[in-house]
Amino acid sequence: MDERDRPVSGVNKLWPSASAALDGIVRDGMVLAIGGFGLCGIPEALILALRDTGVRDLTIASNNAGVDGWGLGLLLENHQVRKMISSYVGENVEFERQFLAGELEVEFCPQGTLAERMRAGGAGIPGFYTRTGVGTLVAEAKEHKDFDGITYILERGIRADLALVKAWKADLCGNLIYRRTARNFNPQAAACGKITVAEAEIIVQPGEIDPDEIHTPGIYVHRLVHNPHPEKRIEKRTTRKE
């Protein structure tokens, strides 16, 4: 097909700002899925905008809980989080304080199980069996089932009211490309949101991304925000000699 004749798919999903994109779709007590691994690939602008909405009693499925003063740590400091579903939360002193004080509930979930729970939720799969966690605290009160002589436990898919993700590049239809290991949980978080808002460093016109290169198809993304210069804080800067 002549490129000039190719019709444009989808609607323009770009919103003028992160706070505008969250307007009208956040409420107290909602369940969120948020992408990122540590501080890598977190939707910085959307987290700041979410903090500024002041919504409370949030349940957040995210591998980690940020650090003091950045990422999801900002929501914790503001006492907006009721429950975290995470695999590892060791980098956050305020988190620890609220957890020990009983102000914050934590559901520890093995990392691969968490990723699969989001993937399953987005794929319309309400639960799946996994060997991970059998014989541990994670298996308590969960259904056990043997397949071919091996015991598995039933884990539930996660369907979030709202997902916030970070991409490197997006087109106006919401097709996303992630960069390096900033991909991590973002594709699964994007898929499991009833509403998904993505922020991207680069936003291009439809047709400027080859369809073969897309990691998250735009069908999963409802609103898009441009954040050209995220801070991208580094938790552990490790180097070798020049």
Binding site: C40, T132, W168, N186
Partner: protein, 214 residues
């Protein structure tokens, strides 16, 4: 003489085989990467979504978008692949990773592993450890033979909450190398000048020495 941390890492590197896909945990297991023989190709997996992890970057190469599972800045090698967390754990859970080398607080004679929480102490979470030990084909633990307070880490039953049940195949300590067998711990290699008596003294649970273990 008991092995040093470096010597334990070097010993653990002898578990590697050409062409292996390997996941290395935090601590001594990370050091194993320094002892991969030059003539051997081993691909390192980082469970945050990288297959083909390289060394730490030079200062000028640091990229905030490229980290390992310990959240340290890293590089990737030629032939590397990057993917999502779900894909990463699909290859782990699906048994595609040949070997995981990780640390532990306790290992039982049944191969039970405890390495993620101590009741009453700050709990950080299990991260990907439960997925790794239940999904990877061969699980090797590298740890000190005894805890800092002198208590045994190789035990009849783990007193700490488990990371996985019946998942450990081999343990490399500062004193010896042993396999977890249906009959309990079976030592087949001792560190230089370490005696069987020493190993017995610091091990709880059923312990045997394979013929010729020295």
């Amino acid at each position: 003489m008991a092995w040093s941390r470096e010597q334990m890492a070097a010993r653990a590197a002898r578990e590697l085989r050409n062409g292996y896909y390997v996941n290395l945990g935090i601590g001594i297991p990370t050091l194993v990467a320094n002892y991969i023989p030059a003539e051997m190709t081993v691909t390192l997996q980082s469970e945050n979504g990288l297959l083909g992890m390289g060394p730490f970057p030079r200062d000028s190469e640091v990229d905030a978008d490229l980290i390992n599972a310990g959240k340290e800045t890293v590089t990737f090698v030629h032939g590397a692949a990057i993917f999502s967390s779900a894909d990463s754990f699909a290859m782990i859970r699906g048994g595609h990773i040949d070997l995981a080398i990780l640390g532990a607080m306790q290992v039982s004679e049944h191969g039970d592993l405890a390495n993620w929480m101590v009741p009453g102490k700050r709990v950080k979470g299990m991260g990907g450890a439960m997925d790794l030990v239940s999904g990877v084909r061969h699980v090797v633990v590298v740890m000190e033979h005894s805890a800092a307070d002198g208590s045994a880490k190789l035990v009849r039953n783990c007193s700490l909450p488990l990371t996985g049940k019946g998942v450990v195949h081999r343990v490399i300590t500062d004193l010896c190398v042993l396999d977890v067998t249906p009959g309990g711990f079976e030592v087949f290699e001792l560190a230089n000048e370490v005696t069987r008596e020493q190993v017995k003294q610091h091990t709880e649970g059923s312990l045997r020495f394979r013929d010729g273990a020295s």
